[in-house]
Point group: C2
Chain length 386, copies 2
């Protein structure tokens, strides 16, 4: 007896859970397959929702996407909180970008000009004004950029709320690894290819819609035809959690520091925790916390906010972001009928959860998806048929 659903989501991270919740909310019977839902990259993510402060040259297309998803965040958060009755720590306190030496200042000035040229809302601040806003920032900081529209969410609360909301809406959880996607036929042949379900260990699950949202593992499942395997790879990120006094927090808002050409961020939580991140490492699927990464994160963090040295170090952890060839996600239909991809979100998985979930839910129901996601169809990487 194969259990049957309207849709099966492979991967229970922020993307998979958001998608499952949105589909279930729309009345679909949904299953999520993940041995440990919520404990992958999402659990490690800092939760900066910073499309403007994190914009990169050459990624203007991605900016349109991240801005569109940021606009969906307030209502998405409100609906999730209404569904669960829990506070997910969505804070609209803005983000401050600061530079610590002359080279970093030049970089910051370039960033400011680029942001202005894109019509983004950014305010340039003197060193003095930076310290008025955030007295814990190092006196040596040269200047700053204030991005009021870049917000944050407490990722672990967000993921826990998604788990609860999905369960409440009737989503079934299979706590097993998915091993293969079950596909009938082959793309490009007469009759084409259609997804039938998912194999997980001994169990077979059936559905006319399968959403592949397994982050950097999305390319590892058996059964995917050539040209459908998403070109994702793990990009290791190590982060630290420091703990301070909730009554007298070091910072009032997220701070991104440009430190001798590198970048470090410090994200304050309401409970006094400060998240410091993150490394960007091409190390395959390794999730070791290394002495070198911890050293560099602490070194750079104290250059920006010297008071971090007084905080307790309560956690050091590594996660694996799903990187893609153009640093943008792969969301949408494939050449296999019913098989949707929702992966490759790289550093933007939390930020892009609302727009991705709405896209997946629309496609699964046969509706028109949000237009902003159109450029990020998975088929953009498909090679010409041989």
């Amino acid at each position: 007896m194969t259990p049957r659903y309207d849709a099966i989501v492979v991967g229970g991270g922020a993307i998979g859970l958001s998608s499952a919740w949105r589909m279930a909310r729309a009345g679909m019977e949904v299953a999520v397959v993940d041995p440990e839902p919520g404990r992958g990259a999402s659990w490690v993510a800092a939760g900066m929702l910073g499309p403007v402060s994190e914009v990169h040259y050459g990624e203007e297309g991605l900016l349109a996407l991240t801005m569109a998803s940021a606009r969906r965040w307030p209502s998405f958060a409100a609906e999730l909180e209404a569904d669960t009755g829990s506070d997910i720590g969505y804070r609209t306190t803005g983000t401050l970008v600061v530079d610590v030496d002359d080279g970093d200042r030049a970089w910051s000035e370039d960033l400011f000009r680029f942001q202005c040229s894109l019509g983004l809302e950014v305010e340039r601040l003197s060193s003095r004004r930076v310290r008025e806003l955030e007295p814990a920032v190092a006196p040596g900081v040269r200047s700053g950029l204030l991005v009021k529209g870049d917000h944050q969410v407490q990722t672990r609360r967000f993921v826990s709320a998604l788990l609860a909301a999905a369960a409440k809406r009737g989503v079934t959880f299979h706590h097993q690894p998915a091993t293969a996607v079950d596909v009938d036929g082959a793309p490009g042949t007469a009759g084409g290819a259609t997804v039938r379900g998912v194999h997980c260990d001994g169990t077979q699950l059936g559905a006319p819609v399968v959403v592949l949202a397994a982050g950097c593992w999305s390319g590892s499942l058996a059964g995917l035809p050539d040209g459908v395997v998403p070109p994702v790879r793990p990009v290791k990120g190590q982060i630290l959690r420091l703990s301070g006094d909730a009554e007298r927090p070091l910072l009032g808002r997220s701070v991104r520091g440009l430190v001798q050409g590198a970048s470090v961020y410090l994200v304050p939580r309401a409970d006094g925790t400060l998240v410091v991140g993150a490394t960007m490492e091409e190390q395959g699927f390794d999730t070791t916390v290394t002495a070198g990464a911890v050293y560099e994160l602490l070194r750079d963090a104290r250059r920006v906010v010297p008071g971090v040295t007084e905080l307790a170090l309560i956690e050091a952890r590594a996660g694996l972001r799903p990187g893609s060839p153009d640093n943008a996600p792969l969301v949408g239909a494939t050449t296999v009928d019913g098989l949707l991809l929702a992966t490759g979100h790289y550093r933007n998985g939390i930020l892009l959860s609302p727009l991705t979930a709405d896209t997946v839910a629309a496609l699964a129901a046969g509706h028109e998806p949000p237009a902003e996601m159109a450029p990020f169809r998975p088929t953009r990487f498909a090679t010409a048929p041989s």
Copy 2:
């Protein structure tokens, strides 16, 4: 019904357990009172047995003591291993002291002259010779001192073996905190004062001999007459455990680095673990692991052995050494008949375990204790009677 013993040891660290084991081995009925035996400062200690490499100006008296205990280590280790059948990781691979800049080199030269003036066995090495011995040491290191006689023990194996050996010899463990020492009479009065036992929570234990070996908590028990309360205080030490490849260890022996006036040590274990320590902080009974301490330990460790950055950071932990006014232990009889102190071992608790345990066992049995301990009687801090 008060359980009665020949001796009660308050505190189940390396000192208390060694003492209990030695007394039980001599045929006494012994109890140890500790809510978590073996999990205090001993569990955090790196286990360097380095009387020569750690000698300090003005502490020549302490050197005679540490050297005497170091001489007892081989037979003590052998007897403990024979009693338990376990390997405690006692290694005689020596200790290398290296200096990383000109100031540190001057310090190292001073140390060498001081060691020579005391007739200690030390060899001065060129930078090149240092790197021949330990290729992982930084190329910039100026010079080194090789102390072949300074050894190491794996402290966690040592403590676990002591627990097993004590239990095997019939020692009873009371897993409760001791709250008070039960003393009859008062010192200096007709009839004097005599110990009767120990209170721990609801239970009362009786014995004609009580050994106070509770580390930095030794002064906290109720019931101790004025002038008997040992002047010990907690000196916080934070350490890191890094994990590498056991087949290709970074270091072959313990390395102490002098880094811009500070000191960092790296102690390699046979299983590939590297212990890096330690801070010296006057922070009361606080055992928080701080971001600042982890940063400084990693910064200094990588100055000495750059390859540490590749290792996994597997643990960061703080312990509380029992400091005393002259940095030397308080071991021996007090003005309360039957009450012995064995505390204040500061940075030398592991090293001094054999000689302290033999002293306690001799005193408890009414024998002559080792002469080397005579200068470290607790009564040296007693104030004049009022």
